[in-house]
Amino acid sequence: MFDLTGKNALITGASGGIGADIARKLHAQGATVGLSGTRTEPLEALKAELGERAHVLPCNLSDMEAVDALPKQAAEAMGSVDILVNNAGITRDNLFMRMSDDEWNSVLNVNLTATFKLCKGVMRGMMKARWGRIVNISSVVGATGNPGQANYAASKAGVVGMSKSLAYEVASRGITVNAVAPGFITTAMTDKLTDEQKSGIMGQIPAGRMGDPDEIAAAVVYLSSAEAAYVTGTTLHVNGGMAML
């Protein structure tokens, strides 16, 4: 089940905690992986760990010209892009009343606009192939909201609406577009939370623990597989029960 042999997957944010595990799991299922991220060093380290079937594709997603170029670079390196995982995301938290235009725009640009452009960039190849899988990483806060994260929550809710709209348009071409919405996962991003914030969060999670990155990766593998061909436009919430949506 979930064999991805012969499929080429582009993963953004592959230098981060969740992205690296997504790349590992897709690779373990037989896919060739294009590892994209801003920092080259961790990408090279991941490539060395994975061995064959791995390519490093550095890209700063706040640089829109670089974003436009990435799908082409990935297709040149791997031969095609059959699976796109838009995992990269940034936060720039602030109280809504204090949030600057720059904080708003930079988060929307990377989390939503770059996702839009990458989806668009891989669509031609997927339409021709009559097969494609797009998995956009959203967040539980896109559905529930979160104080201090108006920009992040808006971008992650936007990803869901965009994914559904695109899913409608391309479903007849064998392309599925889904979202995975992680809850609180142990990564560098959630390490920044204070102990007080963490204990507050823990009280809201029925599972009583934070999630592991590989639990997100497993959801991505499923949605990338041939077996999930009839699943499109959905959001798979992986959050230990903290929001049962």
Partner: protein, 77 residues
């Protein structure tokens, strides 16, 4: 029919699975040949590849009939 028109016709017949004699110059992709909006996007992609040209989005919107496509391609190539 010119060479361009023949090649356009062939692409349309293959892509939309329609009878060749229905693909006339004035035939509208959507109204006469049963294309949906995404089919028209794919047709434009196929024309771009067949003729080695680029069809910008605003021009693509104006290509609604077989004749429109032939005219655009002749001017562009």
């Amino acid at each position: 029919m010119s060479d361009v028109a023949d090649r356009v016709k062939k692409i349309v017949v293959e892509h939309l699975s329609v009878e060749e004699d229905k693909v006339t110059e004035n035939a509208s992709f959507i109204d006469d040949l049963g294309a949906d909006s995404l089919d028209t996007v794919e047709l434009v992609m196929a024309f771009e590849e067949e003729f080695g040209i680029e069809i910008p989005d605003d021009a693509a919107e104006n290509i609604q009939t077989v004749g429109d496509a032939v005219k655009f391609i002749k001017e562009a190539s």
